[in-house]
């Protein structure tokens, strides 16, 4: 019952946030909408037994990442509100049609049952740090190491692309 309540409330929040993000003309509002959705997600994670992930979601995602977004939004100007005119021929009707089809498709796919795979265990899972850490450093150690490469890319890439030295900029 609690879960249902949470689901309904935060489900509405998540959808509202998502729609806001898409709908808002000002990117700041979009960012706010997205943040709302992310928080709602965190709640869902908790209800699904993924406490640690929920924490990470809040701290890293809703916190750090969105902050980064906001920084950039500020950097490139908050006043850049988009006008709603569509330049591309047929883009909107096409997009809406496609979205509906896509959504209907996926929902139809899960109409009967969403999860068909065999249950791996009997107990309800508990996404504690221990449980996750155990997985992460045993079974998933290789992907974990590989993510290091992602970080190198992020670092070098950001430097390469956005670090304008005096000679770099040509404004």
């Amino acid at each position: 019952m609690v879960e249902l309540t949470l689901f309904v409330i935060f489900g509405i929040c998540a959808l509202f946030g998502a729609l806001t993000m898409v709908w808002a003309r000002n990117p700041v509002y979009s960012a706010m909408g997205l943040m709302l959705t992310m928080f709602s997600m965190a709640v869902f994670y908790v209800s699904n037994g993924a406490q640690f992930v929920a924490v990470v979601q809040v701290i890293i995602y809703a916190g750090a990442v969105m902050t980064l977004f906001l920084f950039v939004i500020m950097l490139i100007g908050v006043d850049k509100a988009e006008d709603r005119a569509e330049k591309i021929f047929l883009q909107r009707p096409l997009a809406l049609g496609l979205l509906v089809l896509f959504g209907v498709g996926v929902l139809l796919a899960g109409r009967h049952v969403w999860v068909t795979g065999p249950a791996q265990g009997v107990d309800a899972i508990d996404g504690t740090i221990e449980a996750i850490g155990d997985q992460l450093f045993r079974r998933w150690v290789l992907p974990f190491e590989i993510t290091a490469l992602l970080l190198i890319i992020a670092a070098t890439g950001a430097i390469a692309l956005a670090l304008f030295k005096n000679d770099g900029g040509d404004e």
């Binding site: 796919a109 795979g117 992907p143 070098t156």
Partner: protein, 479 residues
């Protein structure tokens, strides 16, 4: 041997670290980068060669709790990718040098992309595959926009990035749905689940997941209609790196696609083969037709790569029996396309994005060897015999016919004739039309020379005597 399974990546990472640290400390310049990259790539190649020698054929195994597969398939991919990255860097070297100190980052990103590509081919787990794909793609996004002198590069990078992100999100969604449907993210696990169980429940989620996995990978290999980024990116990206961009994506993308389709979904071939066939046909037709109308060499090559993606997909309709043929095509085509873009980089400039075809008029007088190699490559891409391109076409069409996809073959052969038109146009320009006013001789940088020599040699030798390679692939790669 566990360490051997990740040895290529380890070597690459070591090389990256050495490169960066030495660079930061002593600023030795581009020579050092080259040495480091060469060592890294050579080491990685040796490592995958070792993998090949020990794990090919039936000896394939997986390591790190089923995260990475070491088998003929992955090793061969590495044996293509790492040298390809080396060639790509050689072709891109003038570009690297033109970037001053940022060149180090360029080299690093290329190395990372190479290992990402290899990991894509070797991943035995869908999540692992996703990470590898991101490693690979993110580095390419940066490389595409690396030069800051030109607006085109920005545009290319942003387009590539946004579309790539969408595609990988869809791909990831596919992983999630497949996970939900089968309870595992292991590629072979999915396959085992699908073959080993009588599935009583409706399979909608599995099917939706399959569709999205295909979207993500088809995007990577630029199959129509997921191809629209390719021409813009290839045209906008700096000439020097476009070759690696195009060829690497093909190798890694097809490796991943083939592994997912045949290992995870091999049991469902009757479901996906028709879809692959239609994708193939669409790509061939769309790529060919659009290439016909181009006036820019790089853009034309981009569309032609769309068509080639279609040809390669043609091999996949035969399922796992088509994989050696697919590899043959991918391996030879990737060298060709890399070299073709390398020519563009020489003629139009390493940092330039655009390469108007008019630049190539009379190229045979301005640089006979350049023209000869580009001509050869055009013929190879057009599928003229005695080049690897022809054997590749024989291979993939053979597979398709074996799988009773004659219609696809007919579409393919007719489109290849139409395709000849634009390949021939390049030759016409180079050999049958005079050079423009004031167009002097073109000097070919040493790196590009190596690339062209290798590409020409591979194209001709494999074209004339393809049997060893074919035999090799056939024995080594059953999944």
């Amino acid at each position: 041997m566990t360490i051997l399974s990740v040895a290529p990546e380890v070597v690459i990472v070591v090389a990256i670290v050495m490169l960066l640290m030495v660079d930061v400390q002593w600023h030795p310049g581009h020579r050092w980068w080259g040495v480091a990259a060469a060592m890294g790539l050579t080491g990685a190649t040796v490592a995958v060669a070792l993998q090949w020698s020990q794990y090919r054929g039936d000896a394939g195994a997986s390591f790190f709790s089923g995260m990475i597969a070491v088998d003929g398939f992955g090793a061969f991919a590495g044996m293509v990718i790492f040298p390809l990255a080396g060639l790509g860097l050689m072709a891109a070297w003038p570009l690297v040098r033109s970037q001053g100190g940022r060149g180090a980052e360029f080299v690093v990103l290329t190395l990372i992309a190479a290992s990402g590509a290899h990991l894509m081919a070797a991943s035995a787990n869908l999540v692992m595959l996703f990470i590898a794909l991101e490693v690979f793609s993110l580095s390419l996004y940066v490389l595409a926009g690396f030069t800051r002198e030109r607006a085109d590069a920005d545009e290319a990078a942003l387009k590539y990035f946004l579309l790539g992100a969408v595609a990988s999100a869809i791909f990831l969604y596919g992983i999630a749905l497949v996970f939900a449907a089968t309870g595992t993210t292991s590629i072979s696990g999915v396959g085992a689940y699908l073959t080993g169980n009588v599935l009583l429940l409706p399979q909608g989620v599995l099917m939706a997941g399959t569709a999205m996995l295909m979207v993500g990978l088809a995007f990577k290999v630029s199959a129509a209609p997921f191809h629209m980024w390719a021409p813009d990116v290839y045209q906008g990206a700096p000439g020097g790196i476009t070759g690696f961009l195009a060829s690497g994506a093909k190798v890694a993308g097809f490796a991943a696609l083939a592994r997912v389709l045949t290992v995870a979904l091999g049991d469902r071939i009757t479901d996906w083969a028709p879809a692959v066939a239609v994708l193939a046909a669409t790509s061939i037709v769309v790529g060919t037709l659009l290439a016909l109308a181009q006036t820019d060499l790089k853009r034309m090559l981009a569309y032609s790569s769309v068509a080639h993606a279609g040809f390669i997909l043609t091999a996949l309709v035969a399922g796992s029996s088509g994989i050696p043929d697919m590899w043959f095509y991918v391996a030879t085509y990737s060298v060709q396309v890399l070299a073709a873009f390398a020519v563009a980089a020489v003629v139009s400039g390493p940092t330039e994005g655009r390469a108007p075809l008019s630049d190539y008029a009379g190229l045979s007088t301005r640089s006979p060897w350049l023209a000869a190699v580009l001509g050869l490559l055009m013929l190879a891409m057009g599928g003229i015999p005695l080049t690897a391109g022809f054997v590749g076409k024989v291979a993939v069409f053979r597979s398709a016919i074996d799988a009773d996809y004659l219609w696809l073959v007919i579409v393919g052969v007719i489109a290849s004739v139409a395709g000849l038109f634009f390949y021939l146009r390049v030759i016409v320009l180079m050999y049958m039309q005079p050079a423009g006013e004031g167009a002097g001789r073109i000097g070919v940088p040493a790196g590009a020379r190596v690339v062209l020599a290798v590409a020409a040699t591979v194209t001709v030798i494999v074209g004339v005597v393809p049997w060893p390679l074919l035999e090799w692939l056939r024995n080594a790669i059953p999944l």
